[in-house]
Symmetry: C2
Subunit: 249 residues, 2 copies
DNA sequence: CACGCAACTTGACTGAAATCAAAATCGCCC
DNA sequence: GGGCGATTTTGATTTCAGTCAAGTTGCGTG
């Protein structure tokens, strides 16, 4: 099974970055992008399992994912792990730490991952001088708010099939936003982790994926997913009709 | 049963507003607050059931709740209502509309409610001139992000008692943040609406409240709630130990 | 390549929340 | 105060995801 979904390598400057329209440079003039460029630190790729930052760590920077993927994880008081999100290239991580000045969760690379690190104090200062940049930051935060609300909605649904259908459609859309196939993609996280995020145990994840495949909605090979019957998946996800939350996040 | 929890009337300017530290004026100098004041529109109280804005409506303003309470509601494709949040005095509403330029949900007053309306274009312009104001807006958005993540976490829990325990503790904390009793408060929303938010049907809400009361954790009179055994509620909410997410949102 | 561990699958069983149905209560308006 | 509609409660039953137990597969490391 060959690899279906791949993000091509992004360039080493914001102006030429393929993910520009999802990230801070969007809406900025060429000159302003140049200024932003000067504060962005392009970190070397980190290996799978590496931490970008840890919960409780002092907040200094936000991070834009360039390649790879990241999960946001919290260690609960009872020793369990809770996964609160998955970040793809183009996502900006760490915005939740701005208010409290420390990171509420740990960011762990799901595969080899490269990020742009943007020191927040410098971003803040630059934003004071470049209003468009500051506005773009606010827009990105608004976008993240919407995404979190959408997750909240999905998690009020009890049915495992529905939860899975919604999250697959959300991934589908996120991949499409990045120029990849909406119908065939590779999920970077384990079934276990995805289940943790969805509030479903591994047994249920296994059964639910299998049911969706047997019903002809999906075709699955390991982590490779093909959405076979988009209409049926959407009907399952949202009730009798398409769209609604999908159009927002 | 007399009314236990009440927010006193806020003053008609930002500087003297009791909710200042939860809202945009926080961290601003007296002069800057004066400038903010000049763009804030203090709307007359609206009646219970009134809309502050509707889903799909063009985004022009954000709203700070001064008195009363508001639910955020979305009409789903299948005709059902989904409730995505409850806003108390000091909360800033509408931040999720910044990116898409239209409101994703409808804001409905749960009781007589007054808000300060802040036209966003004016706020944006003022923020360009007053960096501290813009930074405060970003902090408020970061706070909202945290709160949404916390909701997401609660909703991965399957047990109705745990969901209810967590949400009561969150309300408890929010009331405490506003100078009210953390242990005795009146919930402004119906059991139906709270259940919708939690993904629990009315029957389960009824049973779960009753169980928590029978077990001695709560004392309930209609919408008035008293948390009787804080330790037991926290143990129920978070497993064997206190704190963790509670400390963040 | 072999081994060990983590991830995943499968089957049987259980229990909690949803569903269904109906009754009771509450709040609002005339 | 009465009526009506919405909300809430109560009881019986069903459903489905979690738990328990064990087996299988995949991946990474030496």
């Amino acid at each position: 099974m060959t690899r279906i979904a791949t993000l091509s390598e992004t360039r080493s400057n914001c102006h030429d970055c393929r993910l520009r329209s999802l990230c801070l440079p969007d809406n900025l003039s060429k000159e302003d992008i140049g200024e932003l460029d000067s504060i962005v630190q392009r970190r070397k790729p980190v290996a799978r399992g590496a931490y970008l930052f840890q919960a409780g760590q002092r907040f200094n920077s936000i991070f834009a994912v360039r390649t790879g993927s990241v999960k946001a994880s919290t260690l609960l008081a009872n020793g369990d792990e809770h996964i609160s999100g998955f970040h793809l290239p183009g996502d900006v991580i760490g915005l939740d730490a701005i208010v409290s000045r420390d990171h509420p969760s740990t960011a762990i690379a799901l595969e080899s991952t490269s990020v742009c690190e943007i020191p927040y104090a410098e971003l803040e200062s630059l934003g004071d001088r470049l209003p468009t940049l500051q506005h773009q930051l606010v827009r990105i935060m608004s976008r993240e708010l919407l995404a979190e609300q959408s997750t909240g909605h999905l998690l009020t649904r009890r049915a495992a099939e529905q939860r899975l259908a919604v999250v697959l459609l959300k991934f589908s859309e996120r991949f499409a936003n990045r120029g990849l196939s909406a119908l065939r993609f590779r999920l970077p996280m384990s079934r276990l982790d995805l289940g943790n995020y969805l509030g479903l145990v591994p047994e249920t994840m296994s059964r639910t994926f299998r049911r969706l495949e047997e019903q002809g909605l999906l075709s699955i090979a390991g982590k490779e997913i093909e959405i076979v019957d988009v209409c049926a998946i959407k009907a399952l996800a949202y009730g009798n009709n398409e769209g609604d939350l999908a159009a927002k996040a």
